[in-house]
C-alpha cells in the first residue's frame, strides 16, 4: 500500500514538475510574444515553427498557452495561500480554545462546505467589487472553511497529547504551543489538503473564466482561452484540445500528489 502511494506521489510529482518548469521558463521566455499578432501566420497549422499553430490573429498558441497556464497557476496559488493562512488561524484558534464559538463556527463551516463551490464562487463574484484580483479574493474566501476545518480537527486531536501537556506545564504560552509546537505536526495532513485546494482552484478559475465572469480580457487564463477556442472548433480543433489538456494535466498532477500524500484525491 505504501509502495502504491509512493508511485502515485511520484507520478504527480513528475507531471506537476514538468508543468511548473514550463510555466517558470514561460515567465521569462516564450517562443513568440504571446500577444504579437502576425497576419501571415493566421490559422497556421501545428508545425515546428508554431508548435500548436496560431489563432485567429496569428498569435502563437503555444506561447499563449504557457502564459495562460502561468496566470491560472498564479491565481490558484494566491487563492490557496489566502484560504490557507486565514483558515490556519481560524482553525487553530477554535481547535485550541474550543467552547461555543467553536461549535457555532464549525456548524457554519459544515453548511458552507455542503454547497457546490462553483455556486458560491458565482455569488461572491457577483457581490465583490469588480477588479482584476477579485477572482483570487473570491476563491480565497471560498477555501477558508475547508482549511479551517482540517486544521481544527488536527489541533483538537493534538491538544491532549503528552508533548502539549508537557509544554503547558513548562509554562509555554498558548500561542507559542499552538503555532510553534502543534503546527509542524499538522503540516503533513495539511499538505494533501493544499494539493486538493490547488486542484479546485484551477478547476474553478477555468470554469469561471470560461463562463466569462472570471479573468477578463486582456488578461490571459486557460479558461478564457478555452471559450475562445470553442468558437473555432471546426477550423482549429487542436486549439481547444491543447488548452483542455493543459487544464487536465494541472488538475491531474495535483490530484495524484494529494492522493500520494494520503488524501483521497477529491474534496
Amino acid at each position: 500500500m505504501i509502495d502504491k502511494k509512493n508511485k502515485t506521489f511520484r507520478a504527480g510529482l513528475i507531471i506537476t514538475g514538468i508543468m511548473l518548469l514550463i510555466i517558470i521558463i514561460g515567465a521569462f521566455w516564450t517562443p513568440y510574444d504571446p500577444n504579437a499578432m502576425n497576419g501571415a501566420a493566421k490559422w497556421a497549422k501545428p508545425s515546428f515553427e508554431h508548435l500548436l499553430g496560431a489563432d485567429n490573429f496569428g498569435r502563437d498558441i503555444f506561447s499563449r498557452l504557457v502564459e495562460g497556464a502561468g496566470a491560472t497557476f498564479f491565481i490558484a496559488a494566491a487563492s490557496v495561500a489566502i484560504g490557507l493562512v486565514i483558515g490556519l488561524v481560524i482553525g487553530g484558534l477554535t481547535g485550541w480554545f474550543g467552547g461555543w464559538i467553536d461549535e457555532v463556527l464549525m456548524r457554519i463551516i459544515d453548511s458552507i462546505t455542503a454547497f457546490p463551490s462553483i455556486l458560491l464562487a458565482l455569488v461572491l463574484i457577483a457581490i465583490l467589487p469588480s477588479g482584476k484580483y477579485n477572482i483570487i479574493l473570491a476563491l480565497g474566501l471560498l477555501f477558508i472553511p475547508s482549511f479551517a476545518r482540517i486544521v481544527r480537527m488536527e489541533v483538537a486531536k493534538q491538544k491532549n497529547l503528552d508533548y502539549v501537556r508537557n509544554a503547558k506545564l513548562m509554562g509555554v504560552s498558548d500561542m507559542r504551543i499552538l503555532f510553534v509546537h502543534i503546527l509542524p505536526n499538522v503540516v503533513p495532513v495539511l499538505l494533501s489538503t493544499v494539493a486538493i485546494g490547488f486542484n479546485n482552484a484551477v478547476l474553478s478559475e477555468a470554469s469561471m473564466s470560461y463562463l466569462g465572469v472570471g479573468v477578463q480580457p486582456p488578461d490571459p487564463s486557460l479558461g478564457r482561452m478555452l471559450s475562445e477556442a470553442q468558437n473555432y472548433l471546426l477550423s482549429a480543433p487542436w486549439y481547444a484540445l491543447s488548452v483542455g489538456i493543459a487544464i487536465i494535466l494541472l488538475i491531474l498532477g495535483f490530484g495524484l500528489l494529494s492522493e500520494g500524500l494520503g488524501g483521497d484525491g477529491n474534496a
Partner: protein, 313 residues
C-alpha cells in the same frame, strides 16, 4: 420517526437561514439598481420614486420577509433587465436543468455501481488496474471540456446532433432527450470515476473485516462474499454520496449548459450575474441552494433508513 421529525425541523431552519444569507449577500452589492433600471433617463427624483416603488427604502428584514413569502407563493419580483416577472423569466428553465440533472444522475448510478463492484471483484487484475488508472485521469477532466470535446466529435465531425440547436420538450420529447444525452454524459463521466473509486475502496475496506473471514470459512467464493455479505455494507457511504452528488451535478450543469447552449437555470444564472440582474440571480441561487440542502436531508434520512446504527445528531 423522531429522527425524521428532528431532521425536518433542522431542514426548515436551514432553508430559512440559507435564503436569508443569500438575500443579504445580494443586498451588500455596491451600486444602486435604479441607475441601471433608468439608464439614460436617470434623474435623482425619478430614482427616488423608483426606489419607493420597488420598496428599496424599507428596512432589510421587512423586505426579506416580503421576498420570502413572495418566493414561496410564486411571486418572485421583477427582473431588472427583462422588465418582466422573475417567474416568467424562469419559466421552462427549471425543467431543462432538472431533466439534465436527472438524466446525468441516472447515468452516474447506472454505470458507476457495476463498475466499482467489478473493479473490486477482480482486484489487482488487469481490468482493475486499467480501471484505477482511468479513474484517476477521468476525475481530472473538467466536464465542460468533455462537453467541448463531444461538441467537436459528435456534433461537428459525426454530426449526430447540431451544436447549439436545442430542441424543446414541446417540439419533440425524444429529440430533446437525444440532445440532452451528450451534456448529460459530459457531466457524468468525472462523477462516475469518483463514485466507482469510492465504491471500490469501500468494498476493499470491508473485505478486510472479520465477518468476511467468517463468510469465506463457510465456503463462499469471493464473488458470493461480495454479493451477499459485503455489498450491503459497502454501499452505505456510496448511497450517501450519490444522494448528495445530485447537488454537484446541478453545479456542473451551470457550466455545461453554457457549452451546449442549453436554455437552463445555469445559463440564466451566468447571464443574470454578468448583467447584474440580481432579482433573477437571487432566485436561482436560492432554488439551487434549496436543492442542495434538501438532497443532504434526503441523504441523512436514507442512510438512517438503510442502517439504523447511524444516528447523526
Amino acid at each position: 420517526m423522531r429522527y425524521v421529525c428532528k431532521k425536518t425541523g433542522i431542514l426548515i431552519i436551514t432553508l430559512i437561514l440559507v435564503s436569508l444569507l443569500a438575500f443579504l449577500a445580494f443586498q451588500v452589492i455596491p451600486g444602486d439598481p435604479t441607475t441601471k433600471l433608468l439608464g439614460t433617463e436617470y434623474t435623482p427624483e425619478r430614482a427616488e420614486a423608483l426606489r419607493e416603488e420597488l420598496g428599496l427604502n424599507r428596512p432589510v428584514f421587512v423586505r426579506y420577509w416580503e421576498w420570502l413569502t413572495g418566493f414561496v407563493t410564486g411571486d418572485m419580483g421583477m427582473s431588472y433587465s427583462y422588465a418582466m416577472d422573475v417567474r416568467d423569466v424562469l419559466h421552462g428553465k427549471v425543467a431543462v436543468t432538472a431533466v439534465l440533472a436527472i438524466i446525468s444522475w441516472i447515468i452516474v448510478v447506472g454505470v458507476s455501481i457495476p463498475l466499482g463492484i467489478a473493479m473490486a471483484r477482480y482486484q489487482s487484475g488487469r481490468f482493475d488496474r486499467v480501471g484505477v488508472a482511468m479513474n484517476q485521469v477521468f476525475m481530472a477532466i473538467p466536464s465542460f471540456f468533455l462537453g467541448i470535446l463531444f461538441t467537436y466529435i459528435f456534433g461537428l465531425v459525426l454530426k449526430w446532433f447540431t451544436p447549439g440547436k436545442f430542441i424543446p420538450f414541446s417540439e419533440s420529447f425524444w429529440g430533446c432527450i437525444g440532445y440532452m444525452i451528450f451534456p448529460a454524459i459530459a457531466i457524468s463521466i468525472p462523477k462516475i470515476a469518483k463514485v466507482a473509486k469510492l465504491l471500490r475502496s469501500s468494498i476493499l475496506h470491508e473485505m478486510g473485516l472479520d465477518y468476511v473471514r467468517t463468510a469465506y470459512s463457510h465456503g463462499n467464493s469471493r464473488w458470493m462474499v461480495i454479493r451477499i455479505h459485503v455489498l450491503r455494507n459497502a454501499l452505505l457511504p456510496v448511497v450517501t454520496y450519490l444522494a448528495m452528488s445530485l447537488a454537484d451535478i446541478v453545479a456542473s450543469s451551470i457550466i455545461v449548459e453554457q457549452v451546449f447552449a442549453l436554455p437552463g437555470l445555469g445559463r440564466l444564472l451566468v447571464t443574470s450575474i454578468s448583467n447584474r440582474d440580481f432579482p433573477v440571480a437571487l432566485c436561482i441561487v436560492v432554488i439551487i441552494a434549496f436543492v442542495v440542502v434538501f438532497m443532504n436531508y434526503l441523504a441523512d434520512i436514507v442512510t438512517q433508513y438503510i442502517d439504523p446504527r447511524v444516528r447523526l445528531d
